[in-house]
Amino acid sequence: MTEDVCSLLRVMPEPLRAELARQGISESQVLLATDSDLDFNGNYAEHWLVITAESVLTFALDADGAHAGPRFEVKDLEKAEADARVGSGFVRVKTAAGWLYVIRFSNAQANKFTKAASKLRLMLRGVPLVCTPADDADIRRCLKCKRMLPEGTSACPRCISKRHVFGRFARLMMPYWPYAATAIVLVIISIGLNLVPPILTKTLVDNVLHEQAAERPLPRWFALVTRAFDARAPIDWLLLLVVILVFTQVLQILVGILKGRLSTIIGNRVSYDLRLKVYEHLQALSVRYYDKNQVGSLMTRVAHDVEDLQGFIWQMTSGFLFNILIIVGVLIVLFTMNTHLAFLVLIPVPFVLGSTYVFWHYILPKHYRYWDSRSKIANVLFAALGGVRVVKAFAQEQREFERVRSYCDRLRGARLGVDIASTTFYPIVGFVFSLGGLIVWYVGGRDILDKVEGFSLGTLMAFFGYLGMFYGPLNTLMSLSQWLTSFTTQANRVFEVLDTEPEIQEAPDAVPLDVRGAIKFEGVVFGYDPYVPVLKGIDVEIHPGEMIGIVGQSGSGKTSFVNLLCRFYDPTEGRILIDGVDLRKIKLSSVRSQIGLVLQEAQLFTGTIQENIAYGRPDASLAEIFDAAKAANAHDFIVRMPDAYDTRLGERGAGLSGGERQRISIARALLFNPKVLILDEATSNVDTVTEREIQKALDALTKGRTTIAIAHRLSTLRNADRIFVFEEGKVVEVGTHEELLARDGLYAKMVKIQTQLTKDKESVDDVRALAAEESDAKSKGQGAGKADEKRP
């Protein structure tokens, strides 16, 4: 090996290789070799972890060579894991003597050693240990330059090709190219118009207002104009020039209006197209994409980033492109008028650029401090005044006063900092900007006094005119690189969404399936991060029509279990069968249209209650909607509302209580009539009375379908045919409520705890007793038959 295979299989330094050879280990036996940065005592030092099929070895490397550290034989190991601590971590292994520590690493290496520990753990389970470059993926850093990427993007602002981004953006404008071309022509015209007035001033001063005006030869263009209008006396020329000035200015305004209109038209159309494209694509992406990207950040892309890209067009027509062109234009004119003086005008340029630098690095940061103090003082006041009852009750007025005072101090200090800096900075900058003018006054004035050939008072005035158009744009150009960077990253954030392929792909030979509801998990292993399995080997079978209750601590894998069933994710290992067909071979639309989902937080959408109930089946008849609402125990409260089924709900169902929202979402699921129903803690957010109401609604919903209910309150599971108890990613107990109680295991323990906690009728036994009475009265024969056919 002359090159690292990956960070987990690195080229070992010579002393380490020698030490390994001395221990009789050849390089070909090494499966994993990587370096850590800490010794056990937390000092920075080079340590190596080497794993072969037989042993786990560690070495300390220093100037004297490699020294063997702790060594473990693979056959003695039961488990391996990374033990994260504060600021650093250890790889540790479990042996008969308990946990032993292998190597320590700082958090900079945590990613690598978590993977190493995970690979070792898998090796202990019989999975061959292989390290590949794919293990190195660190999504936070640029692959090329290893720099941190800005939050929420995989495009490195340093490494992305700006030309590529511009090219791509330009292609988006293709449909509007006639507009774009016109806009660019208008930009050039408007720059030309900008350059005209100083030339007119020059003629005005030299040929009209000058004492010997009549004797001086007119510039060729003006001679032509005067002849055309038959103007002979300077007084006519004056009128003519002023009229031309007015004309240029009106033209400038007209061109400006046209240019502005065109650029908004193009900008808005492009961002409209782009926004719809991005949203459409986002919807197609798999749920895993939403795990990696926060909804807020995705919303920013659709709502703001796209909008900000409009700025691109503005920058072209009025911003940077415009400024660059005007600087070039002004320079050309200045140099043709008087090369010597034009050079002198450039002298203050470094100072102008310097002042911009000072602004960005020293003046602006002071504003951050001020803005921050101002917003914090608002928070402090809100907390103190909003919590005034608590403050008074604990008699802490003095302390709150001190707290507010300390924030007022900060605000005063920050504001002083800003004001002192500004009152110093701006006058100096003003002086720097006027430097050019002073140079022109002196040098140009001397040339006039010396009667230098070709230099007149008019030229001097024109110079002043152009100077005003020169330093300003130069100043704005300093933020060009900043704008470029933010534009390319924003554009990339948007393009990135468009370039992401949905992870869950339909197999080309996927078939539609009319689901009966038999579900089978075969050796299913799954982790949101493949190195950290959440489900560690699930083998269960669920029969059609059966109601399964799932209990377990948070993080035990309950929700992951149903996520896999909805095929929001694919398992890392193993497979899931529905009616004997691999889930991956069934058409996605066919899976999802037959699985109903009732979540802990009922997600309702803006619209009427009727529209919400019919969300999954917009074609449902009114009678069906009423039936579903009735069965979901929602009809009565809906009818009592002033607008009944026409009640418009706000965002996320605002305007209804939690229990009401939940019952509407149950009605929605009922109407959808799924073959498999998943209830994910459907009643955990409501009080006991509401829970009963919802429970009644659920009874209607679960009848005759395969139901999987995750429950926090065990009382929800009173009707379950079987209960799966999850612990640390495994199903540890399966059975009926009675069987599990009799077993006196984890489930029995959980029931005991809940019974102690809730001394009212919430314990499973009590509720079951209650339910038994109820269901006895309702449907005797059906219940008995169902139980027979369902139990395995």
């Binding site: 000092n43 600021g87 946990w99 320590r104 800005p150 960077t485």
Partner: protein
């Protein structure tokens, strides 16, 4: 009130003895002779008062863990016992004490630090705008967390040299 709630247990020097076994694991014997395997040691106030109120715990996983008691101050222990606990604490807490900031620059939303620390000169990036990554812990003490989760502490910003302080203040304004 019927009965007082159960409070924490304070362990005096006579209540517990720590020792290593031959595999290097930290163990302890309580005054009543109970043997504790794989003892874990935590600070209750790692920033404001690191050497007092040390929590002594057992249990290999988070769910199994329970507290045996608190040691009021390390200073009350004999030198060898103190050394054992210090070593255990050093293995749990890994923090760099910053003594000088050589440079602090911003690029694309990250701050790049170059600092002198008690563990040598370190360079590391932190998220620029995330105030939770550089927390003022009171009395001028700042805790900085870099993008990898490594921790750095400035004991008192007022006691750093003026150049370091100015570099710090330019970006950390909260």
């Amino acid at each position: 009130m019927a009965d007082k709630y159960e409070g924490i247990r304070i362990l005096g020097p006579a209540d517990i003895r720590f020792h290593y076994n031959d595999l290097g694991q930290l163990r302890a014997t309580l005054a009543d002779g109970t043997e504790l395997d794989e003892v874990l040691v935590y600070r209750t106030r790692p920033i404001s008062d690191p050497d007092r109120y040390i929590s002594i715990r057992v249990g290999a996983t988070a769910t199994e863990q329970r507290e045996i008691g608190l040691i009021r101050t390390l200073a009350a222990l004999g030198p060898d016992q103190r050394r054992l606990l210090k070593e255990a604490l050093d293995r749990r807490y890994f923090i760099h004490l910053i003594s000088e900031i050589h440079s602090l620059t911003e690029e694309f939303g990250y701050l790049y630090w170059d600092c002198e620390t008690d563990k040598g000169r370190r360079q590391f990036p932190t998220a620029r705008w995330d105030q939770s990554k550089c927390v003022h812990a009171g009395n001028g003490c700042h805790i900085i967390t870099d993008v990898d989760g490594n921790r750095y502490q400035i004991a008192d910003i007022e006691k750093l040299d003026p150049e370091s302080r100015a570099r710090f203040r330019r970006y950390i304004y909260w």
